[in-house]
């Protein structure tokens, strides 16, 4: 037996999707008792690689060694037998079961909940988790669910834990405590792989970082010898600057006034509760909060897609003139357009709400305007012209403008959506997670487009998840917590910790 074999070793691992190599000849190893970050832009193949280790995909070529032995992992069950477990971005829990029941589900041996509970408490004590085994999953916060997922793996004696973007749904405080338990697990000899694209976290928590770019393995380096710029360049493959510009707002005028806005959620609790704020032209209003704190409902209410509760007020002041107030309450998106208000909305769910995935660019261009001219027939010509314009100005990579947009990459899909929304010369621009899943270059392009609109006097709302970005691009930040407003802060003065606390205040 070789001396201290690596926990996991990949040798020339390759996976094709269609004709495209999602992973190509990837070779590196993970040691026992280390935290390794797997860094790369979206589409670089991080999740594909880990899915092969977790038994979700089967490699088209190459070998995997676990503890020095060559293995073939055909299913998640095989992975468990080898001591490998993965926590996906979307948790796989049964809502109506308790924590203990979820842990027992699928575990080996006879069902004995008392034993399971005892074991869970033992694990919690050992690594510093906090979890009530009798709590139902539907009563849990996102971070509690994540804890439960981790415990599920530890209960099955997993030695190699893979976490896919674990901090995406957490507040800064929750992230900190997650990192705490991850370190405890490492000290216990377990190997932890964190899939991420957040550089600060990479540097903070991991010992080594493996970098992938476009399906190729680039290098593994010690984080003690790395910095953000260097990692970005390895990830992107060329020099980049990491500064988001923030022009000073000019000629601000109040365009949108929201007062005591309440919206009912799905399970008859208030998704939004008594929110009041203003939006000014020429200003970017950041909206912060843990995901699911009411950001989506807030933007959809303004855009006329969500029913508001009695007493809510959303007023629009055309050109900032206070005597020409128009109420948006109870108006459909169509009626808002008919009032002469150009309100652009880049929703979170790009293909599910902003675009028609099965259609090409021209048909997506006309989504809001197809009915503006009279008659029963479609006008195909103008949308084609717009589509070509947007393809050229924003460099949309598509085989043809008629290619269904759902087959484009995430960044190009977002360019089509943002391009359409901006081309209507809006007075209000609402964006939800505008750069989620985009590569760094496209993200910066989107930031530039937003700033361009701001300079034109548009009132911009920017819902974001990365507090660093929010603090860099916004003028003011509205912080949401569980559907309630925790206040509005000046983005030039506020700190990340301050906002983090406002996000989780109860």
């Amino acid at each position: 037996m070789p001396e201290n074999p690596a926990a996991v070793e990949f040798i020339k691992l390759t996976k094709y999707f269609g004709g495209m190599a999602a992973n190509h000849n990837i070779s590196f190893s993970i040691r026992r008792g280390e935290i390794l970050s797997l860094l790369g832009e979206n589409g670089s193949g991080k999740t594909t690689l880990m899915n092969m280790l977790a038994g979700i995909y089967f490699p088209d070529g190459g070998e995997i060694y676990v503890g020095g032995k060559k293995v073939s992992i055909k299913s998640p069950k095989d992975a468990f037998e080898l001591g490998i477990g993965m926590i996906h971005q979307h948790f796989k829990l049964i809502d109506v079961f308790t924590a203990a029941e979820n842990v027992a589900l699928g575990a080996e041996g006879r069902l004995n909940l008392r034993q399971t509970k005892a074991k869970i408490e033992e694990i919690c004590e050992k690594y510093g988790f906090e979890l009530d085994p009798d709590q139902k999953v539907y009563d849990m916060s996102v971070s509690q669910k994540q804890t439960l997922e981790i415990i599920k793996l530890l209960y099955r004696r997993v030695e190699v834990l893979i976490l896919d973007e674990p901090t995406a749904v957490l507040t800064p405080q929750e992230t900190k405590s997650l990192f705490g338990v991850i370190r405890n697990m490492r000290d216990d000899g377990k190997s932890i792989i964190i899939i991420t694209h957040k550089l600060k976290e990479v540097l903070e928590v991991s010992e080594r970082v493996a970098i992938l770019r476009k399906g190729e393995y680039i290098d593994t380096i010690e984080t003690s010898r790395a910095n953000e710029l260097m990692l970005t360049e390895m990830m992107v493959g060329k020099k980049v600057t990491l500064n988001i510009s923030r022009p000073v707002p000019e000629n601000t005028a109040k365009l949108i006034e929201v007062r005591s806005l309440s919206v009912m959620g799905a399970n008859s609790f208030k998704a939004l509760d008594d929110i009041s704020f203003d939006m000014y032209g020429g200003e970017v209003l950041g909206i912060a909060g843990i995901s699911g704190s009411g950001q989506r409902e807030l933007l959809e209410a303004i855009a006329g897609l969500n029913k508001t509760q009695p007493g809510s007020e959303i007023n629009f002041y055309p050109g900032g003139e206070t005597d020409k107030v128009k109420s948006l309450i109870g108006k459909s998106p169509k009626e808002i357009r008919e009032l002469g208000i150009t309100l652009s909305f880049v929703p979170e769910d790009r293909l599910g709400m902003g675009l028609v995935g099965s259609m090409g660019m021209p048909e997506n261009m006309m989504l809001k305007t197809y009915n503006d001219n009279g008659g029963v027939f479609l006008n195909h010509k103008d949308p084609e012209k717009y589509a070509k314009q947007i393809k050229d100005t924003l460099n949309v990579a598509t085989p043809s403008i008629n290619t269904p947009v759902k087959t484009l990459s995430g960044g190009n899909i977002q360019k089509v959506l943002v391009g359409r929304e901006i081309s209507s010369a809006p007075s209000v621009l609402l964006t939800a997670y505008a750069v989620r899943g985009l590569d760094i270059n496209t993200s910066y392009m989107i930031y530039d487009l937003i700033n361009e609109q701001k300079k034109k006097g548009v009132a911009v709302a920017f819902v974001g998840e990365d507090l660093d970005v929010l603090l860099a691009i916004s003028d003011r930040i509205l912080v949401l917590c569980g559907g309630k407003s925790s206040g509005v802060v000046d983005a030039r003065k506020a700190t990340k910790e301050e906002i983090g606390l406002m996000m989780s205040a109860r």
Binding site: Y16, F17, G18, G19, M20, F58, D60, K69, K70, V71, S72, K74, D78, E81, G83, E108, R157, A303, L305, S332, P333, K334, R337, F345, P347, D349, L351, G352, M353, G354, L355, V356, G357, S358, M359, E363, M366, L367, K368, Y370, N371, G375, V376, F377, L378, H380, T407
Partner: protein, 391 residues
């Protein structure tokens, strides 16, 4: 991991699975057609083996008979085309609903509703001039089919009911209503089942026949054949529906709603309005088909006159991916297959004892392979590659 029992040996563990399936991102057109063509040949071989091994039928004779039974001569070609037209008409009616992802399984019932209304008019107003009678019958059929489509759509919009179950149940309601009017209404002698059946009532006989719209001529000009009209109307409907879905605003709205209702709301489209409007169109076209069936085919009504095509049309719509022009080809193929395999059993039953149910076997093999070829177009099966150093 001491207590984890090794389920498989180390060698088994390190061996790749026999095959795994991956989705193709894209495939060249010629390759897709090559797969389809090879599947077609494959189906022919399988059917030949079946016929030869079970009853010793010469495959060449079999295919000759099959082709003849489907296409050759006036006695076979026209019935095949006419049945295809009926099938096509219903499939075209389903196209807008399916494009909207509204799973209308109720075409059978909508056809029956239309046929029932048309027959009712035919029965009640035999003294009207034939042209006017046909017009009223046509409108009645369209309205009745439209109502049958409207009801499930309205319930779906208002209460969120499941359209698949709802439209399916509406079929049985329509069938039972037709049964009542056919058998019991106004007593046995004057129920709808007796339409045009009573040879003594000279005055009413042949009223409501499409072919007598151009009356009194013994010559059989092409426009005096109701078969021709059935085929022409179905083909024009297919072309019109293709244009409607592609080039009109309503067609665009249907496609947007079908792709994502959230996107439709985002665009300011009223989803409920589109759903109801489209289902009325879908039902109305089925109703039109019901009228055609009564006036140009059966000249009576029964719960059997849709001949199950309301369900077969669902297969046609899916196989042609809701493209109404492709539907014409698929409809002809299905009907030719049905008629062809029927001809085969008719021809060989007496000599070899080839049973009637083998017609179903033949069309079953055919459909299985043709639909299976679409799997091969969308997915790729990767077999385990042989590695030299296995041990």
């Amino acid at each position: 991991m001491e207590n984890a029992k090794p389920v498989r040996t180390a060698e088994e563990r390190s061996r790749a699975p026999l095959f795994h399936i991956t989705k193709r991102l894209s495939i060249p057109k010629w390759e897709a057609w090559l797969i389809r063509f090879l599947s077609f040949l494959g189906a022919l071989v399988l059917i030949a083996l079946f016929a030869y091994l079970t009853f010793g039928i010469n495959p060449l004779d079999l295919y000759k008979t099959m082709f003849k039974g489907a296409f050759l001569g006036k006695n076979y070609l026209i019935p095949t085309l006419k049945a295809s037209a009926k099938l096509l008409c219903i499939a075209v009616a389903l196209a807008p609903a399916f494009k909207m992802k509204f799973w209308n399984i109720g075409a059978e019932g909508q056809v029956l509703a239309g046929a029932m209304a048309a027959a009712f008019i035919m029965h009640e107003f035999p003294l009207l001039p034939n042209g006017l009678l046909l017009l009223i019958m046509c409108v009645a059929g369209i309205v009745a089919g439209g109502v049958w489509g409207f009801i499930p759509a309205a319930f779906k919009s208002r209460f969120g009911t499941n359209e698949t179950l709802f439209t399916l149940m509406m079929n049985y309601i329509a069938a039972k209503i037709v049964d009542y009017f056919y058998n019991s209404w106004k007593g046995v002698k004057s129920a709808l089942g007796m339409i045009n059946g009573n040879m003594l009532q000279k005055a009413t006989f042949e009223k409501g026949y499409l072919r007598y719209l151009w009356r009194d001529s013994a010559s059989s000009a092409w426009y005096q054949s109701e078969d021709t009209w059935f085929i022409i109307i179905a083909a024009s409907l297919a072309a019109a529906m293709y244009f409607y879905l592609k080039n009109t605003k309503q067609g665009y709205e249907i496609a947007v709603v079908g792709d994502s209702q959230a996107t439709a709301r985002y665009a300011g489209i009223s989803v409920n309005r589109v759903v109801i409007r489209t289902m009325i169109i879908s039902g109305a076209l089925c109703g039109l088909c019901g009228f055609l069936t009564v006036s140009a085919q059966s000249h009576t009504v029964s719960s059997e006159i849709a001949s199950g095509y309301g369900f077969t049309a669902i297969i046609v719509a899916w196989m042609s991916k809701f493209n109404t022009l492709v539907m014409a080809g698929v409809a002809v193929m299905l009907v030719a297959l049905e008629n062809g395999s029927q001809a085969v059993t008719n021809a060989f039953y007496a000599t070899t004892g080839f049973p009637t149910s083998s017609a179903s076997v033949i069309s079953g093999i055919f459909l299985f392979v043709i639909i299976g070829s679409e799997f091969n177009i969308n997915y790729k099966i990767n077999f385990r590659r042989k590695t030299r150093e296995e041990a």
